[in-house]
């Protein structure tokens, strides 16, 4: 177990390292003149250009830039070198937001709760509802309920969040005022306000994703129900409920946990489309805006952060897997 964890974390770290190198190379060396593209819509005066160049150390060789960036993450650094306006950036320093002169880590810290609220709340909703509906469909396979549920699931699974989200906003928020307008209120400030502000994004995420989870869990459950061990359970004389819940569900839930884990991990790094649809300034939308502004340090920071969540979620899923399925021995499997 312990050896496995170490191996897994090392693999994850190597992935993250490779991603950081790639992203760094792409963003800082991809554009012909990153300083100019960061300069903004107005004309770039030599003064501005030079300032950006010194602050991002664009005048130094790429490997030094990268080394200094990585050093910043672990021990902090001074941005702007020996310029009189140098900015102190303590660890974990992901650089400085060029527009607001905040630390990128502060930007992430501010936008993270928004993304987390959307994603985790939505996930609870769609995993529970989706899985529940799917399981029910599987049990009542072929019934009217199953047909309606499967049809609805397929319909919603084929739509997009920006379409459903916009229609939801139009119908339930703007035109009828039945649901509150999406906005972020910190939970600590007002739990009710938090709930109200998140409800529409959750519903939208819920509609689309629970459709997909319903499809997945229905298929999974049907497959499990045809397994020999379910037949054995019936042969033992077990009643319906323990057959479904103790035997079938337990086995069917494994791949769902895996996928939910990877999904949530992927989403925690920002749900750009959802956040844009509902005008919520989470990490995704912030990153999109930063890309528009060529605010490379912010983009870089958020992309790395997202990648970290993805890598982390694969590790957690592996661990979860071994908890759920005793056949999986952590010591031997290297990955998925």
């Amino acid at each position: 177990m312990f050896r496995f964890l170490i191996k897994r974390v090392l693999l994850g770290v190597s992935t993250l390292f490779a991603i950081s190198v790639t992203v760094f190379a792409l963003f800082f060396m991809g554009p012909a003149d990153p300083a100019a593209s960061m300069c903004g819509t107005k004309q770039c005066t030599p003064v501005q250009h030079e300032r950006i160049t010194t602050f991002l150390e664009l005048d130094r060789p790429p490997h030094e830039q990268y080394a200094s960036y990585m050093r910043g993450i672990f021990v902090g650094r001074t941005i702007g070198g020996d310029s009189p306006d140098a900015i102190e950036c303590p660890a974990p320093c992901l650089g400085i937001n060029f527009r607001t002169y905040e630390q990128v880590s502060t930007v992430i810290g501010r936008t993270m709760p928004i993304t987390f609220s959307i994603v985790l709340g939505g996930a609870v909703l769609y995993v529970l509802i989706g899985t529940g509906l799917g399981m029910l469909s599987a049990i009542k396979r072929g019934s009217i309920f199953d047909r309606i549920a499967s049809g609805t699931a397929l319909t919603f699974a084929s739509t997009q969040i920006f379409f459903i989200g916009s229609v939801l906003l139009l119908v339930f928020v703007y035109q009828t005022d039945l649901l509150p307008l999406p906005k972020y209120v910190p939970f600590t400030e007002s739990p009710l306000g938090w709930l109200g502000g998140m409800i529409v994004p959750w519903i939208a995420l819920g509609l689309i994703n629970s459709a997909q989870y319903a499809r997945l869990s229905r298929a999974q459950m049907i497959e499990t129900l045809s397994e020999d061990f379910v037949r054995t359970a019936r042969a033992k004389g077990l009643a319906i409920a323990p057959i479904y819940f103790r035997h079938a569900l337990r086995a069917a839930v494994t791949p769902i946990v895996t996928i939910a884990g990877l999904d949530i991990g992927g989403q925690l790094g920002g749900v750009a489309i959802t956040e844009t649809t509902f005008s919520l300034n989470g990490m995704g939308r912030t990153a999109v805006r930063a890309i528009d502004e060529a605010n490379l340090p912010v983009v870089m920071g958020i992309v790395l952060f997202s990648a970290m969540f993805l890598v982390l979620s694969t590790i957690i899923v592996d661990i979860l897997y071994s908890v759920i399925d005793p056949r999986v021995k952590l010591g031997t499997s290297g990955g998925h």
Partner: protein
């Protein structure tokens, strides 16, 4: 699974029924024409306007006004402010040497008055030397008195790295080497001495220029001249940690999210002819896009009753808003200072008849509808905006009917000529992509082929501002920096200013007679007479040279809450809050 298809079909039918029911015939609405009114304008050189500002009839104190914004101010560091939202609401916390008094009352002229200074400026030598004396009892939020040194320090700052985003007229006029090697580079170099600026005592600040600068009072109305206490200059963080000199101060500031201003007790109403302090708090909600702003303003529930929006109502909501008579009472709709052009690169399209033909061939109606309709744009025929005092109403290339242009005249002008394929350069945005296609189709009617070239929007003006660019048609927009013809024609049509890079004259129009006339107008001390001159010059340029096609005048179409008193669209096309109150 195969049975699900039926369920799907049913769902689809049900949905389409709902949708059908939601639609009815659109027969169109008539567009009321608002005639541009000539603006009268007073510059208070004598110091007649004194604090406090007159009470607003019916005004009450207390309450909170919420300002709905799609994004927070780019800057609140006074020396970095240059964008209209910050120019409009920055004065709640920042005072400068001069400032504008606007009342929104029909017929009452806008005034440029002394703000921290007692008057708009005193000059004894036609603009080469200017002296300003500070008012009494002006203080920073911490209670320390504002001295001329603080003002000078602010101006010094604007030379350094914290002024690069702000306007740079003053700096360029004070220091010929500004921005170049050997020029003054701000206080972080350790040198506090701004060339040409002296502070003989704590109350006086003096500006000396090499050439007459009649526009100085306007330039000082920018927060470039906002005082900054040197001890509290936190450099780049000053955007968030600024020290207030106005009636409000920062109570909360979460970047990209939320800003709250509360009353500043150190501010003395008697020292300020521009601002009132009726409202307890201003809350800037920076995460609300124009669509949502419109919806919240339409509903005006709870705190939104005392809110204002800062964006334009999006095109799909305009018909909805216009259909609601009650709501229309709370709509602010007026032309703004922006004018949009299709510049014709005169160095490439040298035949003036082709340029005239392009003007005739342009389908302004199609264009206006493509950019959002007549509520947020007016058909333009001049270079100068109707809100500028230099505006002269004329149309050198009138349409045959309904703003569709005059193809016959265009064809006649082009008779016997072959026009090569023209390259249309425009910034790469969603709207511009559509507009480019509309323009393309529009010129096709006169057999002129245009191919669009989309340039990344971040670099757009840098790219097309490069002399020798291979664009034949270049889209651009211009908003005056101050209410004077010089700030439009003097920038856009002055061939003498054409340089290798960083041009604003995107037509690359250079005519000796025009250059001479512009120089004469620029240096005229009587600005009223100068404005007339600009108008006539403009008419002459359009008729004789046709260096551009005026596309549209910008309009603002916004909504304010029913409980906001004394607000109106100010010169920056924002709802004015300097003397607003909560009903």
């Amino acid at each position: 699974m195969r049975k699900t298809v039926k369920a799907l079909a049913l769902g689809a039918i049900a949905t389409s029924l709902v949708l059908t029911a939601a639609c009815s015939a659109n027969k169109g609405t008539d567009q009321e024409k608002d005639t541009a009114k000539e603006q009268n304008f007073i510059v208070d050189y004598k110091g007649d306007v004194k604090g406090p500002r007159a009470e607003v009839a019916g005004a009450k104190t207390g309450g909170t006004i919420t300002i709905l914004k799609a994004a927070c101010f780019e800057h609140l560091d006074p020396q970095q402010i240059y964008v209209s939202d910050a120019l409009s609401y920055g004065p709640l916390v920042h005072r400068s040497l001069t400032g504008y008094v606007e009342t929104g009352v029909e017929g009452e002229p806008m005034k440029l008055v002394g703000d921290l200074a007692t008057n708009a400026g005193t000059t004894t030598d036609n603009g080469k030397t200017w002296t300003y004396t500070l008012r009494d009892n002006i203080k920073f939020e911490d209670g320390t008195a504002i001295t001329s040194k603080d003002v000078a320090y602010g101006i010094a700052r604007s030379f350094g790295q914290f002024g690069v985003q702000g306007p740079q007229f003053l700096q360029a006029a004070l220091d010929a080497k500004f921005g170049a090697e050997g020029g003054y580079a701000g206080p972080s170099t350790g040198d506090l001495k701004v060339p040409g600026v002296t502070t003989p005592d704590d109350k006086t600040i003096k500006f000396e220029f090499a050439t007459p600068q009649v526009a100085l009072p306007y330039w000082l109305a920018f927060p470039t001249s906002t005082p900054v206490p040197a001890a509290k200059d936190t450099k780049e963080k000053y955007d968030f940690e600024f020290v207030s000199s106005g009636p409000y101060k920062r109570a909360e500031l979460v970047p990209d999210t939320r800003i709250v201003f509360e009353k500043n007790p150190a501010w003395d109403p008697n020292s300020d002819p521009i601002r009132k302090q009726y409202v307890d708090k201003f809350v800037f909600d920076c995460t609300t896009d124009a669509k949502t702003q419109t919806d919240r303003m339409s509903a005006a529930n709870g705190p939104d009753a005392a809110a204002i929006m800062t964006g334009n109502v999006p095109p799909d909501q305009i018909p909805v808003v216009k259909g609601n008579a009650e709501l229309m009472k709370r709509v602010g709709s007026a032309p703004n200072q922006y004018v949009y052009y299709l510049n014709i690169n005169t160095t490439r399209v040298t035949d003036v008849d082709v340029r005239r033909a392009l003007n005739y061939a342009f389908d302004r109606d199609a264009y206006l509808k493509a950019v959002g309709g007549y509520d947020i744009a007016n058909p333009a025929s001049t270079i100068t905006s109707p809100v500028n005092p230099a505006y002269l109403e004329f149309d050198a290339y009138p349409s045959k009917s309904d703003n569709h242009g005059d193809i016959d005249k265009a064809m006649k002008l082009l008779e016997g000529k072959t026009v090569p394929t023209l390259t249309l350069c425009t910034a790469n945005t969603a709207v511009n992509q559509k507009v480019a296609a509309v323009l393309q189709e529009s010129f096709k009617r006169a057999n002129i082929t245009v191919t669009p070239k989309f340039i990344p929007s971040g670099d757009y003006y840098t790219t097309v501002g490069r002399k020798g660019i291979d664009c034949d048609l270049i889209t651009s927009a211009w908003g005056q920096d101050w209410a004077d013809g010089q700030s439009v024609l003097g920038v856009l049509m002055d061939g003498a200013q054409i340089k290798a890079e960083g041009n604003n004259n995107y037509s690359y129009f250079n005519d000796a007679a025009v250059v001479a006339k512009l120089k004469e107008l620029r240096e005229m001390a009587d600005r009223g007479a100068a404005q007339k001159g600009y108008g006539e010059l403009e008419k002459q340029i359009m008729e004789q040279h046709a260096p551009l096609i005026p596309l549209r005048y910008g309009r603002t179409f916004g909504i304010y809450g029913p409980n906001v008193g004394n607000t109106f669209l100010n010169q920056f096309s924002q709802f004015d809050l300097l003397a607003a109150y909560v009903k």
